[in-house]
Symmetry: C2
Subunit: 106 residues, 2 copies
Amino acid sequence: MDIDMIEISKALSNETRLNILKWLKDPEGNFPPQGGCLSEPVDLKAGVCVSSIQAKANLSPSTVSNYLDTLQRAGLLLSERHGKWTYYRRNEETLECLAEYIKTEL
Amino acid sequence: MDIDMIEISKALSNETRLNILKWLKDPEGNFPPQGGCLSEPVDLKAGVCVSSIQAKANLSPSTVSNYLDTLQRAGLLLSERHGKWTYYRRNEETLECLAEYIKTEL
DNA sequence: CACACATTTCGGAAATTGTCAATATGTAAA
DNA sequence: TTTACATATTGACAATTTCCGAAATGTGTG
């Protein structure tokens, strides 16, 4: 796993994006149940849908969609589409690598 | 010690600034001896002067001066003036806090 | 198929950043 | 004090980023 430190730093240098990452650390505590796709085994383990994040961030859907894309391109989030919804969750692996990179490489 | 994650991320989201931080991890290996102030006990422990960093970064003095200021305001570098020279060195404390913050808070 | 809804993409205005040359400041040496 | 050099600040302009509304795309439902 290699870290693109520039992309990651850019992704982290915005308060809302930083908050999204923190919120997703505790989806049950920060978001309503994700009941969108009842027939699929989609629960909070799969992540949180864009509209829930958008409601909490209080920004336009397009902005939030962009932010999530930025975070995903940096490798900090993973997404999974189920029906109409895209569920985003943290990519803990990258977060761990990032902490390790800062400790050893930077 | 509290971490301003946004300021730090902005400071890190530039290749040259990232390189400066890495270069300063091994001043002896990356820079010539800093002999500017012979009467003072200034060696590489105090850091590396702006012109040495500027030569290595291959950017204008003003740009490098700016970058160093950005890194210092983010708490990632410390500076010490000795005579005509300003010596910059890493602030290991902040780097450690940053790794810790990412591991536990983010 | 046609509709409604979740999300993404596009286009653009405003704000920020990158970078330099020119200028200013601080300090040592002559 | 005059000069020379190291660094910092300022002003300018290009490039990038932020953020929105509008339009486009994808998908389940009637």
